[in-house]
Amino acid sequence: MKVLLMGHPNVGKSVFFNRLTGANVTESNYPGTTVDFTKGYMKIGDEDAELIDVPGTFSLDPKDKAEEVAVAMLHENKDAKVICVIDASKIERGVYLALEILEQGYPMVIALNMWDAAVDKNIRIDINNLQRILGIPVVPTVAISGEGIKELTTRLKEAKPVEIDDIIRNAGGLT
């Protein structure tokens, strides 16, 4: 199984990567570009999975080399599952990217990272409602302390493709 770690730049993807893979890390150079991505291995239950740390991107509408790599990697790994890492205090932009990826049919779990920082900012997120609307697992995490990481890996098996129309319906329609 392949798992792609995706999200905006600077949301903690690489911290997740190190947490999830431990020390078993290999660095590779993506052909044709100057941008690196990192690959490692992890166990999900009894299954070995390849985890790929995709360069940060704001959208699937690439504006620079790193974003082009991110989009290309997504398209080259059609069978992959996606862990979408979102900065919990910047949830709208994060969900925007998550929706773009879901729209392409990838099974996904969302990590609402930096949950502690969002709590400090008095940002409250209704996780259950968000899960209901999106139809995928949403897990609050603090990657640097390891909080939520275990739940995230166990819930990866619940990741499944969802229809955007269902999300729109669950959200109560378009405004």
Binding site: S59, S89, K90, R93, L97
Partner: protein, 75 residues
């Protein structure tokens, strides 16, 4: 009163009323869309970027982008 984002003063707040069509997708990924409340916090000199707060998070926009976003300024 309506203003371009690039014309906002420090700490001025407003609600986005219009975004140039071609720009909409680009700024949506930054959390900016029609109906959103913004506060301008910094303008960098020499035609530098404009920094706004949207949903408690900072976002910087190039001046060329800021010129194409219209807001109703809170008085």
């Amino acid at each position: 009163m309506e203003k371009k984002l690039s014309e906002m003063k420090y700490e001025e707040e407003g609600t986005v009323t219009d975004i140039e069509e071609t720009l909409r997708k680009k700024v949506a990924g930054m959390g900016i869309r029609v109906g959103k409340k913004l506060r301008m916090v910094t303008k960098q000199p020499i035609k530098g970027p404009v920094v706004v707060v949207v949903d408690e998070a900072n976002t910087s926009l190039g001046l060329d982008v800021a010129e194409r976003i219209i807001l109703e300024i809170k008085s």
